[in-house]
């Protein structure tokens, strides 16, 4: 893959990369100016605290590009062993994918197809429940550019962008002066709904603290108010933790808005109700369009998790939790999602790409992953790479590797790398694995074992 970029210049002995793209979070800011000295970035202008940490800490790791069972090995040996592990498995799992390029994601899906794997992305433990809800209700949506130029009521529900997406406010949602909101922040009202008074709540005009695990009840209260259905005063307060007047005030603001948007986070999807919470929010957004223009958007976390949804969707027809074991795609969250495949002790081998289930999954899922042979690809050492049978240290996407990432509003954005890495990209590793499994599959077809 090309690693060069045409947006480079030199200033005071430093290489300057203009309009570089930060892939740390779903905002995928593409206006960063990088100052590069040899093989590290010394300055990342316009990047937030998370973006700065992302750029300044991705130096070249002085470690072997490949380890097999903890011992340094050549990349070729690693690819051979990795391909063997996956090809010989009866129920291989391919998981991760949210922190790599769409080009690599595409190859990972191809491998899953060749070997009949179970394929899942980190979406399943982030906005997977919302992915299920989109299929049930649909999504009234728009780009972040529309929010920037039109939105006069911004609601954050179970989302804390001040800490998770620090430039969300300034680049897209609260502060910008837009075409139809020329006064910027002055022309917008911000409401935060959360169980705790987060840093984002401090930036809001209205903060509504709700009882933990009662998002579903609060959302249905709003749906009832949107439809002017009478609700029980006492029950509303008891269930949601807020009196009806608070919800009525919010509904009045929502109806009076010219363009409203609800950004929702994992406060909805990771808690009791999960996809039912997301469904209620999507349905509320749909309801609001009887009164005014209203949209909603999940605040997506990892840099290219939206790309993973897109690539897996256009390759298999489903966004995550896809099983290709029968030679055609089947989608069933709760069965083919990585947490379940591991916790239920079904997978007998795995390939983990750019994610860290050994740190983030439940104990039974981690225990099972530890007990099976698996391959891990990551630019950094993590609990997942440490316990892997074959671990590859790969170049970092967006810093060393070019390609494409999708912003959280499904807008594809090119990556402009800053310097080369001595480590291979995950694309190169995945292509190597794909070539091998393809070759073995073709040999088996020729020998008459498989029909095509």
């Amino acid at each position: 893959m090309s690693r060069s970029t045409d947006a480079e210049a030199t200033r005071g002995g430093l290489k300057i990369v203009e309009d570089a793209t930060c892939t740390f979070c779903g905002c995928v800011c593409d206006d960063i100016e990088l100052h590069v000295q040899d093989d590290h970035i010394v300055k990342a202008k316009k990047a937030c605290v998370l973006g700065t940490s992302w750029f300044l800490n991705h130096e070249v790791e002085d470690v072997p590009s490949c380890r097999i069972e903890g011992r340094p090995a050549s990349v070729e040996e690693g690819i051979e062993r990795a391909a063997k592990i996956l090809y010989e498995a009866r129920y291989p799992l391919i998981y991760g994918l949210s922190d790599t390029t769409c080009e690599s994601q595409r190859v990972a899906v191809s491998i899953a197809d060749w070997i009949g794997a179970n394929l899942d992305t980190t979406t399943s433990v982030c906005h997977g429940p919302s992915g299920m809800a989109f299929q049930g209700v649909g999504e009234v949506t728009c780009s972040l550019g529309e929010v920037r130029n039109r939105a006069d009521l911004i609601i954050f529900w179970g989302s804390n962008p001040a800490e998770s997406h620090p430039r969300h406010f300034t680049r897209y949602s609260l502060m910008p002066k837009g075409m139809f909101v020329p006064g910027g922040r002055k022309d917008r009202t911000c409401v935060v709904i959360d169980v705790r008074k987060t840093k984002s709540a401090r930036a809001a005009d209205v903060f509504i603290p709700i009882r933990p695990r009662k998002d579903f009840e609060a959302l249905w209260t709003l749906r009832a108010l949107a439809a002017e259905i009478e609700v029980d005063l006492e029950q509303v307060e008891r269930e949601t933790g807020q009196p009806l007047v608070v919800w009525q005030d919010l509904m009045d603001r929502m109806k009076a808005a010219r363009f409203g948007v609800i950004f929702f986070g994992m406060g909805l999807t990771m808690t009791r109700g999960k996809h039912a919470n997301s469904e209620a929010l999507l349905a509320l957004t749909r309801d609001m369009n009887r009164h005014t223009r209203f949209v909603c958007k999940p605040n997506r976390g990892h840099g290219n998790v939206t790309g993973a949804d897109n690539v897996v969707s256009w390759r298999t027809g489903f966004p995550f939790g896809v099983n290709l074991g029968r030679g055609y795609p089947r989608f069933n969250p709760g069965e083919y999602t990585a947490s379940d495949v591991l916790a239920n002790r079904e997978a007998d081998a795995a390939m983990i790409i750019a994610s860290d289930p050994m740190a983030n999954f439940s104990q039974p899922a981690r225990e099972h992953l530890k007990s099976i042979p698996y391959v891990a690809l990551d630019p950094k050492e993590t609990p997942t790479t440490r316990a892997a049978t074959v671990a590859f240290t790969v170049a970092t996407y967006g810093i060393n590797v070019a390609g494409t990432a999708y912003r959280m509003d499904d807008v594809p954005i090119p990556l402009r790398p800053a310097f080369d890495s001595p480590h291979p990209s995950d694309y190169e590793i995945l292509r190597g694995i794909e070539r091998r499994v393809q070759k073995w599959y073709a040999a088996e077809v020729r020998s008459g074992r498989w029909e095509v």
Partner: protein
């Protein structure tokens, strides 16, 4: 890593925690005084809380610095509590507490949350290895384990049991 409060060893003893102490026994006492007494005796009643793991700036920056670097380990290995809850339970900044869910337990230092960020009855910690140990494998047909809003109990623990720095 010895970055938590140095006074903890002086305030918590070594005997094991009391489990499922009958509520009626405490009703006649001032709860604060009682917790202080229990703490001095090295024990503290089981208290039920709702745990909300989530993202923080430090945890996010720590991921880029490396999961075995200090910033990340520190960010994920502290539990935050409302100052009033801490006072009520007789806990001091940096005291070791055992957080137990239906699925696992961890021992971490507790710190008071700044201002009114966290209401009483709620705990907050940054996502990571320790919050994951408290999660169950069941996803209720969604692919997503319940990772926020978990029921947990809190009891005092010996500082030597703190899990900090033992990332696998």
């Amino acid at each position: 890593m010895m970055w938590w409060c140095a006074s903890r060893t002086a305030t918590i003893g070594n005997s094991g925690p009391v489990r499922s102490s009958p509520v009626w026994l405490f009703a006649a006492f001032d709860p604060l005084a009682l917790c202080g007494m229990l703490r001095q005796a090295g024990i503290m009643t089981n208290e039920t809380f709702i745990l909300i793991p989530g993202r923080t700036s430090d945890q996010g920056c720590g991921i880029s610095e490396g999961k075995y670097a200090q910033r990340y380990s520190q960010a994920i290995s502290t539990v935050q509590m409302n100052a009033d809850d801490m006072k009520r339970l007789g806990l001091e900044e940096g005291c070791a507490v055992r957080i137990r869910s239906e699925f696992g337990s961890v021992v971490l230092p507790v710190v008071a949350v700044k201002g009114d960020e966290l209401p009483c009855g709620l705990l907050f910690m940054a996502y990571g290895e320790y919050s994951s140990r408290l999660m169950g494998g069941e996803t209720h047909g969604s692919g997503m384990p319940t990772s926020k809003g978990m029921d947990v109990t809190i009891e005092s623990a010996d500082p030597s049991e703190i899990d900090t720095g033992r990332i696998s």
